[in-house]
Amino acid sequence: MPIKWIVKIVVALNSNTRPGEVGAGTAFGFLLAFLQGSWALRVLALTLTFFLKINNAALLLSLLLFIPVAALASPLMDLLGGFILTLPALQGLFTRLYNMPLLPFTRFNNTLVMGGLATGIFLWPAVFFGGKALVVLYRTRVRDRIADHWAVKWFTRLPGVSTIIRLVGKAMGLSRQL
């Protein structure tokens, strides 16, 4: 499965996929990884991605990449979530939310969930713009160097490889530049 996502990412990077789509996919993957402990919030986030134009391969790869990071950061998330949930200024708001219909099912009163949600939302723009910048950087600086490198040219000319590339290109609508 990850191989397929990698191939799709490569296709996206080398085609006219908008950098923002890849960036958004990466950011949502990051957010979903940190929304641990609340299936309701994950479902909401996934539902949102269902309707938005984002690169799903970037989302899945990003999710795979950030899940272990989120697991390692759990104690920090717990501390952050505990801090936010016990802020005196927010007690009224949280109490109102807790007594609302359906909201308690999101488990927002759990320290890990709140910490992950806060981290995910706060760092979402950074990851989005970072991802977008990386795509632009790849296209402007790295792509041509890779395409023009003698090793890449030799590799792609190998009989089997060239066939595979042609077939994959046909299947995925690969650009003639690759």
Partner: protein
């Protein structure tokens, strides 16, 4: 020309930039396209219509056109449209299937609570209006599958919309018309796999006390004695005394026979000795010979004397024991007479409780039915608690899962709660009622479930009120109160009591029953049977005629009862009525007289049974006395022999001494002068 249609249009410079070029991120492709669009005379940009692109170019233009279209907007319109269609389908499904789903859910819930088939017809469920209604609902009786526990006609319920959003099923009010119960079913109402219903009946109350009025009209004294004989002390005492005296008598006879034998054996030597004439003993040798004879006879007579003494002690002991046995037997007899008299007594407690005899069966059966209904209601309420309101066990925590910070919950609601339920029948008999606070989480609601019901049909009125309390701190699980007026009652004991087969009439009653934790119950009832109609069966006697007269003439019979029951113990029913005092007064002199006769009969019957044993004991006692007399003669003879031999021996010894002295004196006389009158003194050494 096979240039995509998107590129065949002509655009202003701004539109070209915004709609085409800005949507191509890759610079090389963007430059390629920009090179294709040329400015025309109209100031717009377009691709040369005469352009003949190669295959590769066509392919490239096609993929670029696709990319331009794909890079429009941020929302996936097709998927959004699909979602909207799905939502419409769900909405359509809701409108089409809401009633079916609601009906199935209600039936499943009722079946879980009542453990029997439930059916709902004409369901109308409005989620957004928070209303539910149906035309008919029936729930079968688990214990009688071919009957319905209850049926509800047209019913309408108003739900709490806010609570629904919080997944709480709270019914503000529910009104139901045409309620019925115990109606017939065409098909069995048992759930598949349900166990067979237990045998119907009061069960717990089967051991209610039986009437003891039969004792008054026909006490079988002989049967009573027969029954009690094993428990009496005098037969055992008589048997014990008989055995002991018989053993003693046998021992006495043996010892007496032995003594006779010894007397016979000792008589010979003693007789010979007695025949010795003291005066004929002239010489010491003759005295010695006589003395030897006496010494030879002495051991035998001494043994004889000892045996006689032993026998005397034995006889004294036997006589003493016989006297003690007689005293013990007389005491046992007195005790047994008193016991039998007490058993045949008629003046205490239940013995004149006609009410108990007539009404115990009816009261037990009725109480059993109400007790059964009360327990079923509690069971249904507990099922409700488990089904709807029970707190789920928390899932086992595995990895690090953070901490839940609790926030204050305002207006916590139970998962299921009927605040008000009003019901009534549509036709006579008129039944109306109300129930409040039926819930699976009584501790959250903070109140017990309450209900009232009334029944009216011409002259009959019945009112029921009570509460069911399954809260943790509840000391009483159910408290039921019942009032009736004009309720027709027929009390018929299993067999006629004093020829009274049944008693009928309208009943006025006020009763209270409590069901306690652990399955126990207690309560009281006070009532009156008005203008009772009495039915007789069988031949009457003076007592039953009197009882009939008292009952027939009574305008009302007041009844009071206290009852309690529990698992593992039967029903404890204490019943009394105004009949008892009237009957007791009328019968008091007769009862006393009868009692006296009964006691005398009982005593005589006991004496008859014991006469044989007593006579046997008397015979044995007489036998011992006779043996004593006979043994007395032998003992006297033995004593005489003994004293005779002893006396003779002393005489012989005395005679021997005399003869010795005479011989010594004679010797001294024969030697006068040869022996100095005074012997010289022996020189001193």
């Amino acid at each position: 020309m096979s240039v995509p249609s998107l590129f065949r249009k002509r655009y202003t410079e701004k539109a070209l930039q915004k709609k085409i070029l800005a949507r191509i991120p890759i610079a090389r492709d963007r430059d390629y396209l920009e090179g294709l669009f040329l400015r025309g005379e109209d100031g717009r940009y377009g691709i040369d219509p005469g352009m003949r692109p190669s295959k590769a170019e066509r392919k490239r233009l096609k993929s670029l056109a696709k990319a331009v279209k794909a890079n429009r907007g941020v929302i996936k319109a097709p998927k959004l449209a699909a979602a909207l269609v799905l939502l419409a389908a769900v909405a359509g499904g809701y409108f089409l299937f809401r009633n079916l789903v609601a009906r199935k859910a209600l039936e499943a819930g009722l079946e879980a609570v009542f453990q029997a088939r439930a059916r709902v017809e004409g369901m109308d469920f409005d989620l957004f209006g928070a209303r539910v209604a149906w035309t008919r609902l029936e729930v079968a009786d688990r214990d009688r599958p071919m009957k319905n526990l209850f049926e509800l006609g047209p019913t309408r319920a108003e739900l709490n919309g806010q609570a629904l959003l919080r997944l709480r099923f709270v019914v503000e009010t529910i009104e139901s018309r045409d309620i019925r119960w115990n109606t017939d079913r065409k098909t069995s109402g048992a759930l598949p796999g349900a166990p067979k219903p237990e045998k119907e009946g009061p069960g717990l109350l089967d051991k209610a006390g039986a009437s003891v009025m039969g004792a008054l009209s026909s006490v079988d004294v002989e049967a009573l004695i027969q029954e009690e004989y094993e428990k009496l002390a005098s037969p055992r005492a008589a048997e014990k005394a008989r055995a002991e005296m018989e053993a003693r008598k046998d021992a006495l006879e043996r010892k007496s026979a032995a003594l006779k034998e010894k007397i016979r054996a000792a008589s010979g030597p003693a007789g010979e000795l007695r025949a010795v004439d003291i005066g004929s003993i002239k010489t010491p040798e003759a005295a010695a010979s006589a003395l030897a004879k006496a010494n030879a006879a002495l051991p035998a007579v001494r043994e004889l004397a000892a045996s006689a003494e032993d026998l005397r002690r034995e006889i004294d002991g036997a006589v003493r024991e016989a006297a003690e046995a007689k005293k013990a037997l007389e005491k046992a007899l007195d005790d047994d007479y008193a016991r039998v008299e007490a058993l045949t007594g008629l003046s205490g407690g239940d013995s004149v409780s006609l009410a108990r005899g007539l009404f115990a069966g009816y009261a037990s059966e009725s109480l059993g039915v109400w007790y059964g209904y009360g327990r079923r209601a509690l069971e249904a309420a507990r099922n409700l608690t488990r089904e709807k309101g029970g707190t789920a066990k928390p899932a086992p925590r595995t990895a690090f899962q953070g901490r839940d910070i609790p926030f204050p919950v305002r207006d916590a609601l139970p998962r299921f709660w009927i605040k008000n339920f009003a019901f009534s029948t549509a036709s006579a008999p008129l039944v109306t009622g109300r129930a409040e606070d039926i819930t699976g989480e009584p501790d959250l609601v903070g109140k017990p479930a309450r209900f009232t019901a009334s029944y009216e049909n011409r002259e009959i009125r019945l009112g029921l009120e009570g509460l069911l309390d399954l809260r943790k701190e509840a000391t009483v699980e159910a408290d039921l109160g019942l009032k009736t007026a004009g309720f027709p009652v027929r009390a018929a004991p299993p067999s006629p009591v004093l020829t009274i087969a049944s008693l009928e009439g309208p009943l006025e009653l006020e009763a209270r029953m409590r069901l306690l934790p652990g399955g126990a119950m207690d309560g009281r009832l006070e009532g009156a049977l008005l203008r009772p109609r009495v039915t007789r069966q069988g031949k009457g006697d003076r007592v039953s005629d009197l009882a009939y007269g008292v009952l027939s003439g009574a305008r009302r019979v007041d009844i009071t009862a206290r009852f309690s029951a529990g698992p593992g113990r039967g029903m404890d029913l204490s019943l009394s009525s105004s009949l008892d005092a009237a009957l007791k007064e009328g019968l008091s002199a007769y009862i006393k007289d009868e009692e006296k006769k009964l006691k005398a009969r009982a005593k005589a019957a006991l004496q008859d049974r014991l006469n044989e044993a007593l006579a046997e004991n008397e015979t044995l006692r007489a036998g011992i006395e006779e043996a004593r007399k006979i043994a007395g003669g032998d003992m006297a003879e033995a004593g005489a022999l003994s004293s005779g031999v002893e006396g003779k021996k002393k005489e012989i010894e005395k005679r021997g001494e005399e003869l010795k002295k005479q011989a010594a004196d004679s010797l001294l006389e024969k030697l006068p002068g040869k022996v100095p009158g005074k012997l010289p003194a022996v020189p001193k050494f």
